[in-house]
């Protein structure tokens, strides 16, 4: 078999040597445009798991690579001129040049033909002259671009600018530096890779980059700028450049990774943001899986490539997902500059969800001790106390009220009310919940009118007898526990008149049992749902007054906290979303109009709800549908609500229409809570399947949420 490899990076060299090792009689050639010793870039980082696979694949190169590793265990974060350390991680670094030299030598030893300074401009010649063409020619792959209509690459450009530099300063930790300047924020990702040199990547936003004039700067000027900016860290050490330029990171994906006798490997097939340091690892793993596929399927190329692609693609995509989260963090890191150093660091370390409070405690108890002391103080500085409670048991302010801990217990959605009246069984469920000692008990949606119910079994607050029943309930809760109760006021809008949710959502009641529905526009929720009436001004006033009446009844009944529903496609949320609000009056169209009615309702309720009791909103942060309500719009609505006296926001996503499908899983709402809390600067309540104390501690300690919703189903 004749194999031609284009590109002598980690992917190409490693694939060539693994194949040659197994098939000594195959003819394998590598074409590399650079000279043998020259290479861009500085050092690369590996984690433990990759190493096991390298050992199995080729022991000889594995030993050489690991012999050349620099190993370290610390992450240093410089922020506000102050250092925060976290130990107990494992990183191994190696110079890219060294890594390539090892792989080149091993290739030669096995009999792979290496051609340097051999740039391939037209790969089509190899389609007939070689049996297999391995395209390992990096992110700008000529093979991929020649056959772009087959591979169908998608490239997403990052919003930040970065430059990949080196320094002769020897670092002893993975180092992040955040530096605010008159131009904006700059951040550094730096790590050691051999005994003498370290990688030093400088990154900033496009605006900051332009403002600092770096768009006009050449290589030497850029270098001088960075040298000057980080002179306090570098001391007498120099920053080094190697054809370095300010670029934007490209996240590359391809529809397919193979075509006829060609196959894409490494960066030619996929990239993942450098802040999770996995590109080389992924490239080498590709080579391993490809070589194994040859072993399995011999010269049946279709089978070999299918196997390679179907095994690798899901893994790589999972990595790309984590990388995008990390990249997004760095692109929005300005959002978190209000945090104190310890919290800022904890937030940074937990950014992609792969590390948590408990993981970090195992790695570095001292660091977690500092995190706890920072959570336990009012101002985020470190508490002086010897011992402090874990984050989830620390007090928090919700508007006018101080709460003893961060737990909100969600009550069962299965209320079984009749005409809005709470049944006995549910009252005892509430009392049981109160005895579990959460700070708050969260009611499922409570209808503000009979027509505002989702199902005939929804609780209500629209008649004097409702108030009396709530008053009795509140007395019972307060008499024996310190828990507070949130009444979550809602109008179901076009999601009304459905069956109780035992068998599913939005299954309409039989026609004779339905009541008329209201919505901003006459669009049924599902194809089977009845069509709602588009509300006229009078109906809008009536519904607003229903919210006001419910708030008054709740206040009279002694309810502690009130929350207004603007989520999940119920009435007020359906005004917010352009998918469901098609009005042409001043309540439809641009966001300013779409949020008008929900804000009017909020203001009217705020006016009657006692000032000394918290008032919040459940807000959809994203419809998660094309053309839907966006996170940016949610931030705008959040800011308006805050100005109007909203004390907290509970975040929600989806359900605006039946077609949404959030990526459900543990803590799936945390990014939305993080966004609202740190952009709007308002306390957030976050649910989204938080089943362990670790989830809650991680969210609270990182400043992603102030209160966390837990469910009795997970704590029976």
């Amino acid at each position: 078999m004749r194999i031609t490899v284009i590109g002598g990076g980690p992917a190409g060299l490693y694939a060539a040597l693994l194949l040659k090792k197994r098939y000594r009689d195959w003819h394998i050639e590598v074409y590399e445009r650079n000279p043998a010793g020259a290479t861009y870039g500085w050092g690369v980082v590996f984690s433990d798991r990759t190493l096991g696979e390298l050992r199995e694949a080729d022991y000889t190169s594995y030993t050489e690579i690991t012999d050349n590793f620099v190993i370290w265990d610390t992450i240093d974060v410089w922020y506000r001129g102050q250092l925060t350390r976290c130990r107990g991680h494992v990183f191994a670094g190696i110079a890219r040049r060294k890594l390539l030299a090892i792989l080149q030598a091993r290739c030669r030893e096995l009999g792979v033909l290496l051609h340097f300074e051999a740039e391939i401009e037209d790969p089509t010649q190899f389609i007939s002259s070689a049996d297999v063409l391995i395209a390992a020619d990096g992110v700008n792959s000529v093979v991929r671009s020649t056959f772009a209509e087959v591979f169908r690459p998608s490239m997403v450009l990052g919003t930040a600018r970065y430059i990949w530099l080196g320094t002769d300063k020897v670092l002893d930790a993975f180092t992040f530096i955040f530096r605010e300047t008159e131009h904006g924020l700059f951040q550094v990702h730096a790590y050691p890779f051999d005994g003498n040199t370290s990688t030093f990547i400088v990154e900033c936003s496009e605006d900051t980059w332009r403002h600092a004039g770096l768009d006009q700067a050449d290589e030497a000027e850029s270098l001088a700028f960075c040298q000057q900016l980080f002179s306090d860290h570098l001391g007498e050490h120099r920053l080094l450049s190697n054809r370095s330029r300010w670029i934007r990171f490209i996240t590359l994906r391809n529809r397919t990774w193979h075509y006829e006798n060609m196959v894409l490997l490494g960066d030619a097939a996929h990239t993942a943001h450098f802040s999770i340091g996995s590109g080389t690892k992924l490239a080498m793993e590709d080579a391993i899986v490809l070589a194994n596929a040859f072993e399995e399927h011999g010269d049946d190329l279709e089978a070999v490539f299918d196997e390679y692609e179907s095994l690798r693609k899901p893994k790589v995509e999972a990595f790309q997902q984590a990388a995008v989260e990390s990249q997004t963090y760095f692109e929005h890191v300005r959002r978190y500059l209000h945090m104190e150093p310890v919290q800022f660091t904890f937030h940074l370390l937990t950014r992609s969800g792969r590390m948590s409070f408990d993981n970090l405690r195992l790695r570095d108890p001292t660091f977690i001790n500092a995190v706890e002391h920072s959570c336990a103080s009012d101002d985020g500085k470190l508490s002086a106390a010897l011992f402090v409670p874990p984050p989830l048991l620390t007090p928090v302010r919700l508007g006018p009220t101080q709460l003893p801990n961060r737990l909100v217990l969600a009550l069962s959605p299965d209320v079984g009310a009749r005409d809005g009246v709470l049944p006995e069984a549910f009252v005892s469920h509430v009392l049981d919940g109160a005895h579990r000692a959460p700070a708050l008990l969260l009611f499922p949606p409570v209808a503000v009118s009979a027509e505002g119910r989702m199902t005939p079994e929804c609780p209500g607050l629209y008649r004097p007898e409702h108030r009396d029943a709530w008053a009795t309930l509140m007395e019972q809760v307060h008499a024996s526990t310190s828990a507070r109760v949130i009444a979550h006021l809602s109008h179901a809008g076009r999601r009304g008149a459905t069956r109780p949710r035992r068998h599913g959502l939005d299954l309409p009641l039989p026609p004779e049992a339905q009541w008329p529905l209201l919505a901003p526009s006459p669009l049924p929720y599902t194809p089977m749902s009845p069509t709602p009436r588009a509300m006229d001004r009078q109906e809008m006033e009536q519904v607003r007054e229903a919210f006001v009446r419910a708030a008054r009844l709740a206040a009279e009944a002694g309810v502690d906290v009130l929350q207004i529903n603007m989520a999940h496609g119920y009435l007020l949320a359906s005004f917010l979303s352009p998918l469901t609000n098609r009005r042409e009056d001043e309540y439809g169209g641009p966001l300013e109009n779409r949020m008008r009615y929900p804000l009017e309702v909020f203001q009217a309720v705020r006016a009657v709800w006692p000032e000394e009791r918290p008032l919040g909103v459940t807000l959809t942060v994203s419809d998660q549908e094309p053309e839907g309500f966006t996170p940016e719009e949610a931030v705008t609505v959040g800011r308006e609500l805050k100005m109007l006296g909203c004390d907290f926001i509970q975040v929600a996503v989806g359900q605006t229409t039946p077609h949404t499908r959030p990526a459900y899983g543990p803590a799936f709402l945390k990014v939305y809570s993080d966004l609202i809390r740190n952009e709007v600067h308002i306390p957030t309540v976050c649910g989204g399947y938080l089943t362990t104390a670790d989830h809650v501690n991680t969210l609270v300690a990182a400043g992603r949420a102030d209160l966390c919703i837990v469910s009795l189903e997970d704590y029976p």
Binding site: H503, L507, G688
Partner: protein, 282 residues
């Protein structure tokens, strides 16, 4: 956790007699349900008809379609068949449904492959109406609201469907850790939808005991799952072949919150059922 057993309805050598023997034995044994698989272009028996046939020779076990590729079927007919089976079995049907991954199955029955996801949603939305609202299309199922409906699959949309339309989730197979992750996604979706309680969670796996049966089962799995490419091998490697493996697997699934685990045979010899029963009872 309950443990059910699969019928060998996708084995080439099946006869009416073998099927009835399996069903009778399962009904007498420690098993709580009988499962069947669905595949159009294959030498397999039709799942609902198979369950109907064994309904008559069993009294106790639940009859579980695990799963039916619903969009291959007409919705009204499916609703009627399910209601019929529920009625005739005295309320023992559990209906697992999914999209079905094989294009050739769609082509064979003349169903559109494109747009199948949306059609599946519409089916899920309507099935329940036939069972709950005594429409002109009967019969009335014995179980109130109709048979429990499980949805299978692995996409984000699957879990949204579980929460929106179904009573639970059915996993397609894999080690306990994979099941646990899928179960969490199902629970998260359920909680977010404001459904009361928790979703029913079902799992499945393959077993074979004895050298020849193990070899034959591996061949069968490689063939049956050939359409999944390299994953066929992984599925074949996951075959449970020893009492130890079966017990550990059951323990793993139970710990992950599985309600019912169905163990499918790799060969059709009813003696395999006896051996599994011995392990469960021993």
């Amino acid at each position: 956790m309950n443990v059910g057993i699969g019928l060998p309805n996708t084995k080439h050598d099946i006869t009416g007699e073998i099927m009835v023997t399996w069903a009778r034995k399962a009904d007498e044994g420690p098993f709580t349900s009988l499962g069947v698989l669905d595949r159009m272009v294959y030498q397999s028996t039709e799942p609902l008809m198979t369950l109907a046939a064994v309904a008559g020779v069993t009294q106790r076990v639940r009859l579980a379609a695990t799963i039916i590729a619903a969009p291959l079927r007409n919705t009204v007919l499916l609703a009627k068949q399910a209601a019929t089976l529920d009625l005739l079995s005295g309320g023992r049907l559990v209906l697992g449904v999914a999209l079905g991954a094989r294009r050739e199955d769609y082509e064979a029955v003349g169903a559109q492959y494109r747009g199948r996801a949306r059609r599946f949603n519409e089916q899920l939305l309507t099935l329940r109406t036939f069972w709950e609202d005594h429409t002109a299309v009967g019969p009335r199922p014995v179980q109130s609201g109709g048979p429990p409906l499980l949805v299978g699959g692995m996409s984000d949309q699957t879990f949204a469907r579980v929460a929106r339309y179904a009573d639970g989730y059915i996993h397609g197979g894999g080690p306990p850790r994979a099941f646990a992750r899928a179960a969490q996604r199902a629970r998260a979706a359920w909680e977010d939808a404001g459904r009361p309680g928790t979703p029913m969670l079902w799992g499945m796996a393959y077993f074979a005991f004895g050298k020849e049966a193990v070899e034959a089962s591996r061949q069968y799995l490689l063939d049956y799952y050939a359409f999944t490419g390299p994953f066929a091998r992984r599925i074949a490697e996951g075959l449970l072949t020893t009492p130890q493996a079966v017990r550990q697997f059951i323990r793993g699934y139970a710990d992950a919150g599985c309600d019912e685990l169905i163990l499918f045979p790799g060969v059709s010899d009813p003696e395999q059922l006896d051996r599994l029963a011995d392990i469960l009872e021993g």
